[in-house]
């Protein structure tokens, strides 16, 4: 279902929602990040996409699962740390990042329902903002079979058509959120639909399609595990964690117990992001490391995204957002690697 809201009415909408935690993209120095709203605000026209992906709302980098404290008489108190009942509303999720949320759902909600993830997912409304112009040179959502107007993973999608937004409700959660203020929303006209179609077409055209048929590329991976390509593609890699930590779909984590004090005992169990590009990621306690060099680690990242996940979930674990390639210190570009894989014989 689609309705329309005037751009000028947007601050009013925020005001009406002010009993929730509202997150908006805001510039922090040279990059964009989600910040709590200060009240009557608009969505900045210059907004591109946040540097750190919105996965932090459902999978924070550091998350305390529970904490054990020793009380008097040696009794232990276990605090489950899951008190999040307030609603978070995040505005400005780009469609690629919405798709990434649908990937995370597959991992954390399908065969095993992760209670920590699921609670946060239920208590967050993700409001997308379609890309009327793709923000980056490396934008490649169409290569991944998506588009700058994809709705996957989102609750609502806003489509900027100049002086107004077309509001598309995707989930009931989204629809319910705005249902209390019908005065702010109008009916969508044929003219609105026409201008939207035009913008959609233009935007799609601007995005480079890197590989014609990615499923064919995936088949290639089956025969090129031992190829030299991995050595050459990863030769300039410096073994940092930017690509994975910035990736909206990467979700590997580690769980550790962290002791705050020994006596009385105070310890918390913490889940943190982990990173397959670090040598320590696969280090065995025997001292053996099955992925001892960067070529095996880089290959792993590509295979996880374009082979293993595709085989089990039917989707590529990449949304084409371009962060890994935009911010790689050594300029490694995942889409160029994919092109090389596609051309491999």
């Amino acid at each position: 279902m689609e309705v329309v809201i005037q751009r000028d009415s947007f601050p009013q909408l925020l005001e009406k929602l002010n009993r929730y935690n509202i997150w908006l993209p805001r510039k922090n120095g040279d990059y964009w990040e989600f910040k709590l709203s200060r009240g009557k605000e608009s969505l900045d026209k210059k907004y591109t996409n946040t540097k750190l992906s919105p996965k932090k709302f459902v999978l924070p980098q550091t998350e305390t699962l529970f904490q054990i404290t020793e009380g008097e008489n040696g009794k232990f108190n276990i605090d489950e740390k899951q008190k999040k009942d307030s609603l978070d509303i995040v505005f400005g999720i780009r469609p690629c990042d919405g798709v990434a949320l649908s990937h995370l759902d597959k991992v954390f909600l399908n065969s095993f329902k992760d209670p920590y993830y699921s609670k946060k997912r239920d208590n967050t409304v993700f409001i997308g903002l379609a890309c009327e112009t793709p923000p980056f040179e490396n934008c490649s959502c169409t290569t991944m079979g998506e588009s700058p107007f994809s709705t996957k993973g989102l609750d609502i999608l806003l489509k900027d058509i100049g002086d107004r937004y077309i509001v598309e409700y995707i989930t009931d959660k989204g629809k319910k959120l705005f249902s209390g203020f019908p005065n702010l929303f109008g009916k969508i006209t044929t003219k609105d639909k026409e201008s939207l179609e035009k913008i959609k077409k233009e935007s799609n055209k601007k995005i480079k399609k890197r590989v014609e048929d990615l499923s064919e590329t995936t088949k290639k991976l089956d025969i090129m595990f031992d190829s030299d390509l991995w050595f050459h593609e990863s030769q300039s890699c410096i073994n940092c964690g930017i690509c994975t930590y910035l990736c909206p779909s990467c979700h590997c984590f580690d769980i550790n117990d962290e002791q705050l004090s020994k006596k009385p005992l105070n310890v918390k169990r913490v889940r943190t992001w982990d990173n397959c590009q670090f040598p320590i990621f696969t280090m065995h306690s025997s001292g053996h490391n099955p992925r001892p060099d960067k070529q095996s680690r880089y290959r792993r990242r590509i295979y996880h995204k374009f082979s293993y996940f595709y085989k089990t979930e039917g989707e590529h674990l990449c949304t084409g957002c371009g962060r890994c390639s935009n911010y790689c210190p050594a300029g490694i570009n995942i889409f160029e690697t994919l092109q090389k894989v596609a051309e491999y014989e």
Partner: protein, 343 residues
Amino acid sequence: MVHIEDIKKEAKRLLKEKKIKYLIGYKRGTNGLTALPTFIKEPEDTDELIWEASCIQNLSRYLVEEKKEQLKNKAENTLPVGIIAKACDTRSIAVLLQEKFLERKDIYIIGVSCEYGGVIDQKKIKKKFRGKKPEKVIFDKTNNLLIGTKFGNIKVPAEEILAERCIECKSTFPLLCDDVFGENVKRKISEHFNSIKEIEELPAESRWEFWHGHLEKCIRCFACRSVCPMCFCTECVVDPIELAVTNESTAREKAEKVKWIERSTTATDNIIFQLVRTLHLAGRCIDCGECERVCPVDIPIRLLNKKMEKTALEKFGYESGFDINMPSLISNFKDEDPQDFIR
């Protein structure tokens, strides 16, 4: 004036005559202006080499990796590795030689002078040329840079787009070179420690606030450490592998290994990590600025290292990266060294 054709010719000769194993240089970038590192084995591939102000990276990091691979595989290096190095890059090689991590015979340095220029700051370029898609950047003979865009060349005063470290550069002429291209010119755009002036003058509380605010953002991607040629420890305190665990370690030893920082990304532990790094780089950092360039959350790491550099100079008259025969700052003691802090 540096001519890339001369560099290509020399590179081709070295590879043809099998004087070097391979060459680490720069090629045209595919995402924006910044050049990319390239590793050339075949003489005919030298055509892809470029030399311009977009050759930002300090490639000596890859010499460190080569050395580590060698140590791991216990392989004997038969031929030196060729490297194209700017003045600052040669200074980092100098420190690596001084500390005996690298051996002179294992490297072949093709030094290139930055002359009146330096390298660009990606962020400054991004701001100044938004939407113009700059494709290349050429040194002028004067203090200007020419930015090639699809709308033609645009002339910009160097200091407006040069990296801060280049503006504060001590010498744009490389040292220790086997080959050298470009001239040794005297140029000074700014004071060497201009960039830390502002923060030095702040009261302690404001400085604390400044660093706390910045380091709170750290996501521990460790790109600053990974890109740094001086961070060559096999074991880093933040993610020790073999320090804690070896084939012989008992279960108890594994369980009781010292954790210097926890995995939780708290500001406190982020600060510990960055301070450990800063102190480990005191008297070693040559200000190539790579740590700050790669930081995804824009932490001004260079300021910390610059402060160390200034302290080393003021207190001990020590400058890193200029003399490979001198003992390093930390391993040396002189009677006149200040010692009023020892009480």
